[in-house]
Symmetry: C2
Subunit: 343 residues, 2 copies
Amino acid sequence: MSQPKIRNMEDFASVSGISRPTLSKYFNDPASVRSSTRARIETALERFDFHPNIYAMNQNRRLTKNIGIVVPNLSDPFFAEMARNIENWVIKAGFRPVLLGSHGDPEQEIENLDNLRLIKPAGVLMAPLGRMSLASRIASFCEDVPTVLFDSNIDDIGEAFVGSNNVQSVCLIVDYLCRTGQPPAFFEMKTPANPNAFKRRNTYVRAMEELGHEPRLIQVDGEGWNLEEIGFREGTKVLSEGQLPTDTILCSNDRLAIGVLSAAYQLGFKVGIEGDCDLRVAGHDDHPFSRYTCPTLTTVSQDYEVIAEKSAKTLFELIESEKRAEKRTVTMLDGKLVMRGSA
Amino acid sequence: MSQPKIRNMEDFASVSGISRPTLSKYFNDPASVRSSTRARIETALERFDFHPNIYAMNQNRRLTKNIGIVVPNLSDPFFAEMARNIENWVIKAGFRPVLLGSHGDPEQEIENLDNLRLIKPAGVLMAPLGRMSLASRIASFCEDVPTVLFDSNIDDIGEAFVGSNNVQSVCLIVDYLCRTGQPPAFFEMKTPANPNAFKRRNTYVRAMEELGHEPRLIQVDGEGWNLEEIGFREGTKVLSEGQLPTDTILCSNDRLAIGVLSAAYQLGFKVGIEGDCDLRVAGHDDHPFSRYTCPTLTTVSQDYEVIAEKSAKTLFELIESEKRAEKRTVTMLDGKLVMRGSA
DNA sequence: CAAATAAATTTACGCGCGTAAATTTAAAAT
DNA sequence: ATTTTAAATTTACGCGCGTAAATTTATTTG
């Protein structure tokens, strides 16, 4: 069959016998045309396999069905997984995900938002870089586009925040560690880029004091996002100096813990909960790789799936309501203790 | 100063005193306007911070400065890192990277190409899914858009391929393992999705035969891309059955090896090269996490940076030449042995 | 069956920009 | 200063689609 080439909606209009404005309505919302018309269009669609040009749509529609997803770093499996989860929810809700990573760079983060503006997204789901983020510029973006933050909170920015309850989760694991062995020291970066890190530090200190133990902060040097490397390098230092007043290390996040675990292994420490072990290491986040470390990493889970679902649905409600949130909501999800081999 | 809001190039034309067609020329190529004009534009640009709408540009230009980057899975740190490297080269060459992940799904891979078509990319860098890829549809895309494949080759598709020389790299590590201990068994998936896996298997068999050893294939069940999980689950089976005729396992890739390493640890095997160890495990790829496993993973590096650079530059040359390659070139980069603790 | 209502069509313009042709202006060369 | 040449401007149209208003056609209601 010598089908004529369909180059645009006009072409498709002539071969399908439907006017272009009606087709436009259909592609925007199939339910908005009469069912008999819909059937005719869909029959023609099967024969000709036409897809409207999404960028031309974006350009002209006041509001599109695009939803931007911005994460600090796609190279981090945590964010990659989180993004994947969110993408699935976005698709399920009939929207179109547009995923952008910021490579740990605040300028790139803003550029991502600028690019998103051009496709007139119905909303944006964003995990900000944190402390380094250019907050005021993000804020001005959020004034124009309904935005839900996840993972890292920035005060008063966006319509809502969904993340984990660091107070609860850190208390949980500190409590667990204290019950099952020596009270933990807290291993973290001196100047962490992520606001969660500060909450975790403070909570650790408070939790230790409440349990009647002296908090011990191990604050190590290091810049950037190569956390395993930092955990390994600085963990090696700390462990080989042998000045640790405890045999238990709680790391501010799993990626640091993965590095520390590797350092401990190489230095000949036996890590774990058994009697013959000389070190316990715990993390925070339930990073995708933490179940494959040696030993497997005891940690507190951030429930990816729930954070993804909750933040996505919060945004969808906002979009459907067609108005902005009266009040910024903050949702903090409890972590669950994941008891594995390392502590 | 009460700057008028610049909404488009027309607005910018009036405030800058330059005609819109000249501005259009400038934004396409700053060198194409007289230097005095360029200076005037750039001065105005500083005052008004105008950026042309990239999507409107894409729509109208016959050829854009976009370069598509398509990888099988952004959740895999290997591809995430590779993509980051490529993005850097693309930016450095004055192009605009557009990164898309296929989530391991052949349909998504095609959809990514269809979406790329709309932004009229100058070229595409693509790591295909492999065996599952809908090859004929990729081929027809490649007829329209200059495309360089990397990582996984598909015969005769694209203008060029850049990847690692599996024959060389597998020979290298087989040789190393045979020299330093018992000849390795080869641990892999029964039905791998990636064509490299087949090359590696065949090379392993040949290399073993040439060295006068009997090849031993351990072909495990498993679907999908959660390779660590498969390595762990099937590794646990293999190791606990205790039927291994050798104490050395060469895994088809690092992600499987990470799973096997975890299984070995949990079963109480001591993995490593020292005399008191009862198992050696090696991988292939030098995955970002392989330097933090316990013990650290001996492997063969695929040189990310060189593959990224070479494939990018091959594409740039193609684009500049403004014609298609007379002959499809295949570049295979040698791997380097990375001797770490596990074998 | 006619009247009321709903949906589709026709017509026309807009989005932000590329680009070609004719014309004017500015710079370089004589 | 005059001619030659290069570059900028004006004008006009196109890309693929959204969308509003007026009109026609089809469906539903009484």
